[in-house]
Symmetry: C2
Subunit: 210 residues, 2 copies
């Protein structure tokens, strides 16, 4: 949205004097109502001003907002997700830590029979190493967050929803899953991960116009 | 930017047929050129279409981008930063880990004589606990990232620049510092931290219009 100098002046006048009629805006600018008409149309149709009949113009501070919100609500997690890093239930805590460093990720997913059974983070592992467990013989299932407590998203969840979950549940990443029904029971297949890094990259890409 | 149905149609036509004259667009819509004039003005002044004399209209895919980019370039790190969590050089690795858990942060800053001297992350600490060091007697300075390798921002750095540093240097957070000159030497006072969580929250706030 590229506004000209006069349109910015009009926005300022409306912000400070709302509601204000077109006639009053014209007076403040020493211009005729007719001269201002195209500017006021642009500002109204862009959603920056709201015109109420017999009342005047109001400033609407949502031009930017709606665009970002609409975009994040339309964008699917599947379009921006990263590859999941996975280990198997029964592998040791030591193996989990090695995997975490090798892959340089903050969270790894634990699977059993191919389906998600737990999540283990750097924080979980740091806590564990401070304890007395034998890292090489204790299975990772002992320290992982179990399925019932895992917050996840699906590939067709919106990015907006995913960001909201990350903030509200204070987690660093979410497993991206596909629901699979086997013998009438629902299982979660891990198909990706959605992280705060994905969010930061997306924000930067938008800002850079990619 | 709220466009009406006809304006969206025009954008589609231009995207698929550019460059295209106003007359040609009008023909495709079975409308007169005069009827389309206000729509074309809106789209051009919004920066969504570009009109080149004697050539026609082009689609400009940057309406959204510029707004996000401009916003992040204007917004200062000081406006969105979090409080820094700090320990003193000479405190033990064990104390660093306890601080990390108590404050529930991913990174803590190490200071000496009140100025930044190092950064220590969950990842550094996890690596340390896997080694042979005595956590209670080894000072945190042994495992921290030293000043010369620390990527930081200042309070009046733009959020855009901060996000870029986080992505490019693959770090989870940046110390926000104030430069102080003492006896002709420059020191960094830690006044905040800027994290991926700040980025995610900012993105969400924009999307929700706060």
């Amino acid at each position: 949205m590229e506004l000209n100098a006069r349109q910015y002046k009009i926005l300022d006048i409306v912000k400070n004097n709302q509601p204000i009629t077109g006639e009053e805006i014209a007076q403040k600018l020493n211009l005729t109502r007719a001269t201002l008409r195209p500017d006021l149309s642009i500002l109204t149709m862009s959603g920056l001003l709201e015109a109420r009949p017999r009342v005047g113009y109001f400033y609407v501070d949502k031009g930017f907002t709606n665009i970002t919100g609409d975009y994040l609500k339309k964008l699917k997690v599947g379009e921006v997700k990263s590859l999941p890093i996975v280990i198997t239930e029964g592998q040791s805590i030591y193996e989990a830590i090695v995997t975490l460093f090798l892959e340089d990720v903050g969270t790894i997913y634990v699977v059993k029979d191919g389906f998600l059974s737990g999540v283990v983070s750097r924080k979980d592992l740091l806590k564990t190493t401070m304890g007395k467990a034998n890292l090489e013989t204790t299975p990772v299932d002992v320290v992982m967050t179990r399925l019932s407590h895992i917050i996840f998203v699906e590939e067709d969840s919106s990015v907006y929803e995913a960001i909201k979950k990350i903030i509200n549940y204070q987690v660093d990443s979410l497993p991206v899953v596909k629901k699979v029904i086997v013998d009438g029971k629902e299982y979660l297949e891990v198909v990706g991960r959605f992280t705060k890094t994905n969010i930061a990259k997306l924000f930067l890409e938008l800002a850079e116009g990619k």
